[in-house]
Symmetry: C2
Subunit: 119 residues, 2 copies
C-alpha cells in the first residue's frame, strides 16, 4: 500500500485530538457525532482527523443506517511499541558504560589520526 507505514502512524499520533479519539475508541465503537462531542471543533474537522486515522490503519468504519461507527484497529500501535522497544536498553541506561567507552575510544582514535597527519 503506502510506503513508510510506521511514518504515517507516527504522523497520525502526533495530533492530540487524534490521540484522544483513539482513547475514546478503546472503550468501544463510537459514531462520528459521539467522537466530535468533546471537542470545540466542527464536524468536518473531526471527519478529516478520522480520515487520517483510517489512512494510518488505526481505525476502521462501517456503515449502519446514517451512522458511521468507528472501531479502533490497534495493530499499528503494536508496531509502534515494538519499534520503541528497540531502544529500551538505552533508556534504561544499561549501555551507559559501553556508550561512554565507545565515545572515548572514538575520541582517542580521532586525536591520534590528527597527530599523525600533523607530522
Amino acid at each position: 500500500m503506502s510506503p513508510d507505514k510506521l511514518g504515517s502512524t507516527f504522523a497520525a499520533l502526533a495530533d492530540p485530538t487524534r490521540r484522544a479519539i483513539l482513547a475514546r475508541l478503546a472503550s468501544g465503537e463510537c459514531t462520528v457525532t459521539e467522537l466530535a462531542a468533546p471537542f470545540r471543533m466542527t464536524m468536518p474537522a473531526i471527519s478529516k482527523h478520522l480520515r487520517v486515522l483510517e489512512g494510518a490503519g488505526l481505525i476502521s468504519r462501517r456503515r449502519e443506517a446514517q451512522l458511521r461507527p468507528c472501531r479502533l484497529e490497534a495493530a499499528p500501535l503494536k508496531d509502534v511499541a515494538e519499534w520503541a522497544e528497540r531502544y529500551r536498553e538505552i533508556w534504561e541506561g544499561r549501555l551507559d558504560r559501553l556508550d561512554t567507552y565507545l565515545k572515548e575510544l572514538q575520541t582517542k582514535e580521532t586525536t591520534h589520526a590528527r597527530k599523525r597527519r600533523r607530522k
Copy 2:
C-alpha cells in the same frame, strides 16, 4: 516547557530520515557530517532534522572543537512505548469478545430506543 511533549515526539518520529538518525545514534555519538553521510540531502536539511529531534528531547548536542557530536536521549521513547502499551490488550485481541459484546449491547439499545421513539 512545551505543551504536548508526546505530540512533538510523535511528530519528530514521523520522518524516516529522523528515525534513521536515531538508529545511527543508538550505536554511539556521531558528528553532524557523519549523520548526514548516508543521505542525499544538504547539510542544512540535516541540521533542521537535528533541531527537530533536539526540540523533542530525542538528542542532545555538545561542542567539541568544530564538531557538534550528537547523542541519543531515549527518555521520550520510553514515554512512547508506555503510551502504546496501554493498547496492548486490544491489539492482542483479548478484548475482542468483550468489545463485540459491548457493541451488540449498544446496537440493541439503540434499536430499542428507536423503536420506543417510533411509538
